[in-house]
Subunit: 785 residues, 2 copies
C-alpha cells in the first residue's frame, strides 16, 4: 500500500493520505535555522545547535505520537466546528477531510479541502534569516459567505534541550512572555547573562492571543481539542513562568469564491525589533514568493552538479532530488536532530561528518573544506580523534581528551581529504596549518600522516588494527587485543590515498615509509584474514576468530567482505568469493544483513552488538550504510547486475508501493531495515534522514553504479549497471565545467567501457580529461568488452 | 472552590471531583519500591533508584498532562461504550461519570459509578515486595445482566531515565517482550550484562493481550481512545524492540447485584518465577486484604509517635497524618522523584537529606542513624561535603571531588546529628568511625568538628562565612569574597550544638577551642550584620551589602531575620525588630516572600536568583521551607499569635476551600507559592511533596508552635500558640515512653508555661524528665505569665 508519490518535475514528494505509519518529515532551512516538519505539521526548530538553541518544542516518543508542531486551526463561526489544515492534531475523519502534503526543497505545503474551504499552508525557512514562515491561503469554495476563526499555535522550548527534558523545577519558572502588535514575545533568562528571545508574528490582525500553553489548550486537553479553539477565542494569557506557547487568533470573512493570504513568522530575535521587521516584510505575499524563488534557485544550483536519466525512475527520483537533499541535510546536521535523534548529542560525529562530505563535495567544495578544518581540529596530536565535536563551542585543550578512542575515526580523514583533493585539485590545502584538539598544530598533510601513524601504533597480535572502543560498528567493542579487519582495510585504503598524494607531491621519503607500512600490512592481511570462502571480521582478545565459519554465533559479517574489495586487499578470486558469500548468507530482498546468524547470547569479548534482539540495529539488521559499501564493492568488481540488485533492495523509493510495511519515508534513506531473523518485522525501516547511508548511497549510485567519479586527472567513467539497461545520461559539474555524459550499452554488458568520445573526439581509457571552467563537455560512452 | 476533603478517621484525603487544577498525587511503597499515582491514576514506578531502575514510564510536562499511568478500562459488550475507572484517560462527561479518589496511607482507591457499574480500584505496594497491586472490584448495580471487557494497561520505562528520555536510537531496539499464562514479561538487555526484568500479571483470566504500545493504542491515538479497547480485543502483539507496554484483557459477566474481585500485579523480576508467584499469591483477595492491614499497622506505628488535638482541624489533619507522611516520603526519596522531579538527579541532596531526618527521627531513630552514616560518608576530609550523593553507587575516592562547594551543606550535619542525639541519647554514635568521601576516616565527632573547621577556614573580609557556590538558597551565588549571614548563623548554631555535646562529654579542649571560635564569630556578627532595623543577607564580593535598606534591588531577605533568631545571634530587641520587619515587608496572606522587592535586573554578584521572574522560586517567591523558619523564629520569641499566623498562611490544608487557585495538593506542602509581586498568580503553589518544607513544617508546628521537643535532658514543653486557643493535647513517644500532654491556656496567653504537672506531680520549669520505655506519662501544662 502506498501513501504518496514522487513529483520529480516539481522536486516534490506528494503525500496523498496523511495517516502514514510513521511521521514522514522534511527539513526546512539551510545551515543555521533548521525546521523539521512532518506530513502532519508536527516538528521542531532550532538555531545553529539543536542542543543549546532549541526554539520550538517537540515531544519525542510521545503519545499522541509526534507532537506538537506548527498547527493552524480553522473554526467555522456558524456552528463552532473546527479543524486543522494538517490532518493532525484535530484529525477529522478522512472520508470527509481531504488533504495533500507536498514536501519540497526547503518548503512543505498542505492543501486541504473541508467544509467548502480550501486551505493552503506553506511552511518555509528563508535562505539567510533565522525565521520560518507559515503562509496560509484560505479560499471559500462554497456558495455561502463564510466567517472563520483562524488560530496559529506553537510551543516554545527552553533553549537547552537537556534542561527542557528534565529540569522542570527550573524551566517552568523562567519564561517572560509578552504580546504586542500582533506579535508574541518569548524571552527567558539563563544564568549567567544569557537572554534568548523568540517571536511569533501574524500578518493577519490578531483578535485574541495566548502565550500560556495550559490556557490555550485547557486542563486535561491536548492539541487536538484546545479549549481556545473550541470557544473561538484565546484568553489573553501572559505566561510569566509556566508553559510558554504562541497562539494567535484572527478572523476572516470570505465571500463565495473569495480567497485571502496571510502569514505567520516564527523566529529567533526580539519581538520588538526583529519580530516587527519580519512581520512587516512578510505582510507582502510577494516577499514570501521571493523567498520561495530564492530557495528554488539555491536548490537548483546544488542539485545541478549531478543529474541523471536512467531506465529506473525510482533511481532518478532519488539521485536527482532526494538523495542529494538528504546528503545536504546530513552535511549540515550530522546525526544531531531528527524525529529520532533528540539533539542531546550535538555537533558532529567525527567519522560521520568526514563521510558526510563525500555526498556534497562535488557541489560545495568550499563548505567541505571548512568542515574538514573543523574536523582536523578535533584530531589529537597523536593522530587519534575526538569521537564527537561541536565546532560552535570548541576550544583546544587537554579537556578534549575524554571518552574512548575508536579505531576508525581518524582514518576517515584520509578518505574525506582525498575526495576533496580529487574534486578540486587544491593541493595547497595540504599545507594549511591546523591546530590539534589537545595541543600543537601542523599542516593538513602532517595531520593525515599522524592518523596513519596512530593506526600503525595500534596493531594487535596478528598485525591488524586493534578494535579499541569500536570501529565503524559502534557495537563491536573488541578492546584489549581484539583486532578489526574493517579498520585494517580502511587503514590500507588510507595508506593508498596518502601514497597517491605523496607521489603526486614528490614526497619520496613518505612514499618509501608508508609504502613499507603498506607492504607489511598487506602481508598481515594475506596471512591472517582469509577464512576459506570469505574474510574474517577480526580476532577477539582471547584469540578467537570473529565472523568465521568456526565461530559460535555470527559466522560472517558484511563489512569484512565489502571493505576487502574497496581496499583492494586481496586477489580478485578471493574478493569474488567473498562477495558471493555476501549473496549467499547475507543478502535479502530488503538488503544485506550486517552479520549472520544474529547473536542470541551475550558475548563480553564481542560487545554491545550481542545485546540487541535478532535483526535489529547492528545485530543482523540491514544497516543501509553498510549496504552501500556492498554496492560499491560489486561495482568495483564490475558486477553491475549484482551491484544494482543490492542497491534496489534497500532503495527507499523502491518501497513506495509497500510503504505500509516499510513504514518510513520512501524518499530518504533510513538507518536500518529490520533483518530477516527478527520474528515479526523483517523489512520495516527505522531512523530516517540522518544516516551515513545518504552520502554513501549517493556515492554508490553516482560514482560506482553510474560510474562517474572524480580523480586527480579527470572524470572517471566506469559504470557497473544492470546488463538489461540500454544506457543512461548523466550531467556532472566538475571543476566548473559541465559534462554531459551519454552512456550506451548496445552489447548489454554490466560493465566495461569500450569507447569514449569527448567533444566528438575518441579517447583511450575511461578518464575524461579536465576542461576549463565554464565550458560544457559532451561525453559519449559505449560499454562493451 | 474545593475538590476534596480530609477524612482523618480513615487517614485519607478524599478527592470528590477529578478535574483538579494539577495532578494530586500519592506515594505508594516504602523504602524500595516506589509507585507515584495521581487522582487520575497517572504516574510511574521505580525500584530503589528513580534514575537507573525505572519500571513504569511517565511523560513529564506532557500533553495531555501527566500520562501515562495505571489504567483500567471497562467496555460494555452490549454497545462497545468504554470508560476508565479513573476519570482520565477516557474522561467521560462529569455530569454522568461519578468518581471519588481516596489517597490513603500506602494505597489509593478509586470508586466510580457509570452505566450501572460500580467499579473500585485499589492500588497498593505491599511492605516488603518489589511489586504493586491493582485490585479491582466490579459490581453490577443495574437490573440487567452485564457483560464487560476489562483492560489493564501500563507502559514500561527503559530502566535508565536519561536514556529513556533521549536515546531513542537505543531504547527503541532493546525490549524483548513475552507473554505466557496471563503474565506479560518485560525484559531488556543493557550492555554489559545487565538484564532487568519486569512483569504484569492478571488474576482475571486473560483473553487477549498486547505488549506493544503502538499496537494497543493504534497510530494517531492516545490512552484516551486505545484501538484495542474500542475494538474490545488486543492484538496479541509481542514487542521485540519497539514500544513496550503491558495490556491484559479479560471479560466478566455480572448478574444484577453481583460483584467480582480480581487483581493485577506489576513488579520487578522474572515473569516465569516472581510473576507466577505473586500472581498466585494475590489471586486470593485475602492476601490483598492482609497487605492492606500490614500497611495500616506500618503507618499506625509511624504516626503514633506524635498525635495532636487542637482547636484547628486543618492543623490536626496535617500534623497527625499528611505532614508526617510527607516527612517519610522526603526521608525516603529526598528530591529525586515526583511529578516535577524527573529522577535525573538521583539519590540524596546533602543538605536536603540531613534536614529530612528531623521530621522522622522521633519515630525512626535507627533508619535515621543509617542515613546519617550515608551522609557522613559524603563529607570530605577537609570538612566540606558532596552536594549530592547516591548511596547505592557510592565509592570513596577523589572522583567524588566534582562540582562546587556550598557554604552550608556540611553544617547541616551538626543539626541532624544533634537532633538524633537529643532524641536517642546515643552518644556512642559519636565514636563510630566513618570514611570520608575522598580519603581517610574518622569518628562522627571528628566529622562534626571538621565541618565547623571548614566553615572557619572559609570566612570573608567581615569574618562571616563565604557564600561559595551558594548557601541554602541555591540561587544566591556570591562567590569570591561574597559572604552569607545565613551560613554564618547556621555556623553559629552548629557551634552551639557542638559545644553542648562537648560539654556533656567533658571534652574541655574542644569547649575552649570552639568556644573561642564562637566568641569571635559573634563579634563579627555584632560588628557587621545589623542594618538598622533588620539583618543583612550578606556582602557581595565587591563589598556591596546584600539585602540592606541601601541596596539597589532587594532590600530585605527572610532567611537573614529568621536565622538570626534561630541561632540566637543578637539581642532580643534586634531579633524582635528583625521579625517585625518580616511582617512589614515580606509577610502576605499566603506566606512570607523570600526577599523584597524582587530582582528585576541581572546582577552577576548576586547570582541566579536575579534571573527568575518576580515572585517565582527564589526571586521573591513564598518559599515554604523558609517560611517554616519564620514560624520557628516567632515561636522562639514567644510570639505565638505571629507564629501561628505565619504557619496558617502557607498551610496547605488551610487552602482546601480555595484549591482552584492554590492548585496543588491541600494535604502536602509545595516547594513554593507564587509571591506577591508576580503579575498574575500570587498564591498559586508549585512543586509539591519533595520539599524541605515537610520536615521543617513538622518541626515548626510540633516542636515550636505546640512546643513539644526533645532535649538531652527530657521533653521540652514550650508552646507558642494563638492566644485565643483554650488548649490542646499532644501524644508524643520519646525514648520508648508515651507522653500524653494536655495543655490548658486559661489566661489566653500565646506562650509561657506557668505550671507543669507530670504524673500528677508538679515540676519546675518546662522540661519533662525521661521516663522508662514502655511507660505512659501524663503531662499537664498550664500556660500563663
Amino acid at each position: 500500500m502506498r501513501y504518496g508519490h514522487f513529483d520529480d518535475q516539481a522536486f516534490e514528494y506528494i503525500i496523498e493520505r496523511p495517516d502514514t505509519p510513521t511521521s514522514w518529515v522534511n527539513y526546512l532551512g539551510t545551515e543555521r535555522y533548521c525546521a523539521i516538519i512532518s506530513n502532519n505539521a508536527s516538528g521542531y526548530a532550532f538555531y545553529e545547535s539543536p542542543k543549546s538553541q532549541r526554539l520550538l518544542r517537540f515531544r519525542f516518543n510521545s503519545v499522541p505520537m509526534d507532537r506538537p508542531g506548527r498547527y493552524v486551526y480553522l473554526r467555522d463561526q456558524a456552528d463552532g466546528e473546527y479543524w486543522s489544515i494538517s490532518w493532525q492534531p484535530v484529525a477529522k475523519p478522512l472520508d470527509q477531510f481531504k488533504t495533500v502534503c507536498a514536501h519540497g526543497l526547503g518548503y512543505t505545503r498542505f492543501v486541504t479541502h473541508y467544509r467548502g474551504i480550501e486551505a493552503t499552508a506553506r511552511y518555509l525557512v528563508p535562505l539567510d534569516s533565522p525565521v520560518e514562515i507559515w503562509e496560509v491561503e484560505l479560499k471559500n469554495t462554497s456558495s455561502e459567505p463564510r466567517h472563520l476563526d483562524v488560530f496559529a499555535y506553537a510551543e516554545w522550548c527552553f533553549w537547552e534541550i537537556q534542561q527542557d527534558a528534565f529540569n522542570f523545577q527550573y524551566i517552568l519558572y523562567t519564561c517572560r512572555m509578552g504580546y504586542d502588535a500582533d506579535i508574541v514575545d518569548y524571552s527567558i533568562r539563563l544564568w549567567p547573562f544569557r537572554e534568548p528571545k523568540g517571536f511569533f508574528a501574524s500578518t493577519l490582525p490578531v483578535e485574541s492571543f495566548d502565550t500560556d500553553r495550559d490556557c490555550f489548550l485547557g486542563a486535561y486537553r491536548h492539541e487536538g481539542n484546545p479549549t481556545a479553539v473550541e470557544q473561538g477565542k484565546c484568553s489573553g494569557s501572559i505566561a510569566v513562568g509556566g508553559t510558554p506557547c504562541a497562539a494567535l487568533h484572527g478572523t476572516i470573512r470570505l465571500a463565495p469564491g473569495e480567497s485571502r493570504r496571510f502569514a505567520y513568522v516564527v523566529g529567533v530575535g526580539d519581538a520588538k525589533t526583529a519580530g516587527q521587521e519580519y512581520k512587516r516584510k512578510y505582510s507582502d505575499p510577494r516577499s514570501v514568493e521571493h523567498e520561495l524563488a530564492r530557495l528554488a534557485d539555491y536548490w537548483q544550483e546544488r542539485l545541478a552538479g549531478y543529474q541523471v536519466k536512467t531506465p529506473d525512475p525510482t533511481l532518478d527520483s532519488m539521485v536527482n532530488v532526494w538523495n542529494q537533499v538528504q546528503c545536504h541535510t546530513t552535511f549540515n546536521w550530522s546525526r544531531s536532530a531528527s524525529f529520532n535523534e533528540a539533539g542531546g548529542r550535538d555537533g558532529m560525529g567525527f567519522r560521520d561528518s568526514n563521510q558526510d562530505t563525500l555526498g556534497v563535495v562535488h557541489c560545495l567544495p568550499e563548505p567541505v573544506k571548512a568542515k574538514l578544518v573543523d574536523l582536523l581540529k578535533a584530531q589529537f596530536a597523536d593522530g587519534s580523534a575526538m569521537h564527537g565535536v561541536q565546532p560552535l563551542g570548541f576550544t583546544q585543550g587537554p579537556h578534549n581528551r575524554q571518552g574512548e578512542v575508536f579505531s576508525d575515526d581518524h582514518l576517515w580523514l584520509l578518505v574525506s581529504v582525498a575526495a576533496y583533493l580529487k574534486e578540486t585539485l587544491d593541493f595547497g590545502f595540504l599545507d594549511a596549518v591546523v591546530p590539534y584538539a589537545d595541543e600543537g598544530e601542523a599542516s593538513v598533510y602532517e595531520h593525515l600522516k599522524r592518523a596513519l601513524d596512530f593506526s600503525w601504533s595500534k596493531r594487535g597480535p596478528h598485525g591488524l588494527c586493534l578494535g579499541l572502543a569500536a570501529d565503524w560498528n559502534d557495537c563491536l567493542n573488541l578492546k584489549g587485543d581484539g583486532e578489526t579487519t574493517f579498520s585494517t582495510f580502511l587503514f590500507l585504503l588510507g595508506l593508498n590515498e596518502l601514497l597517491e598524494i605523496a607521489r603526486r607531491q614528490s614526497r619520496r621519503d613518505d612514499e618509501a615509509h608508508y609504502g613499507g607500512m603498506k607492504r607489511e600490512l598487506e602481508g598481515a592481511i594475506d596471512a591472517h584474514v582469509w577464512d576459506g570462502r570469505y574474510f574474517l571480521r577480526g580476532f577477539l582478545t582471547s584469540g578467537r576468530k570473529l565472523g568465521a565459519a568456526s565461530s559460535d554465533q555470527s559466522k560472517i559479517f558484511l563489512n569484512a567482505q565489502t571493505w576487502a574489495v574497496i581496499a583492494g586487499a586481496a586477489s580478485r578470486e578471493k574478493l569474488v568469493s567473498a562477495m558471493d558469500s555476501v549473496h549467499e548468507y547475507l543478502a535479502t530482498e530488503h538488503g544485506a544483513v550486517l552479520n549472520y546468524p544474529a547473536y542470541t547470547e551475550h558475548d563480553a569479548e564481542v560487545g554491545a552488538i550481542t545485546c540487541f534482539p535478532k535483526g535489529l540495529k547492528e545485530n543482523a539488521g540491514i544497516f543501509c550504510h553498510a549496504n552501500t559499501w556492498a554496492v560499491v564493492a560489486e561495482a568495483l568488481l564490475g558486477r553491475g547486475d549484482q551491484a544494482y540488485a543490492l542497491y534496489r533492495a534497500f532503495l527507499p523509493a523502491a518501497k513506495n508501493d509497500t510503504a505500509d510495511h516499510y513504514s518510513m519515508e520512501p524518499y530518504v534513506y533510513s538507518q536500518f531495515i529490520v533483518g530477516k531473523e527478527h520474528p515479526f518485522h523483517f523489512g520495516r525501516a527505522r531512523n530516517s534522514w540522518l544516516t551515513g547511508t545518504a552520502t554513501w548511497g549517493f556515492v554508490a549510485v553516482s560514482q560506482y553504479i553510474l560510474g562517474v567519479r572524480a580523480s586527480y586527472d579527470g572524470l572517471i567513467i566506469d559504470p557497473a549497471i544492470p546488463s538489461d539497461w540500454e544506457g543512461f545520461e548523466v550531467t556532472r559539474v566538475f571543476r566548473g565545467a559541465t559534462y554531459r555524459i551519454s552512456v550506451r550499452n548496445p552489447a548489454r554488458v554490466s560493465s566495461g567501457v569500450r569507447r569514449l568520445v569527448v567533444n566528438d573526439e575518441p579517447l583511450d581509457g575511461h578518464v575524461v580529461p579536465v576542461f576549463p571552467a565554464g565550458t560544457t563537455v559532451r561525453v559519449q560512452v559505449e560499454l562493451g568488452r
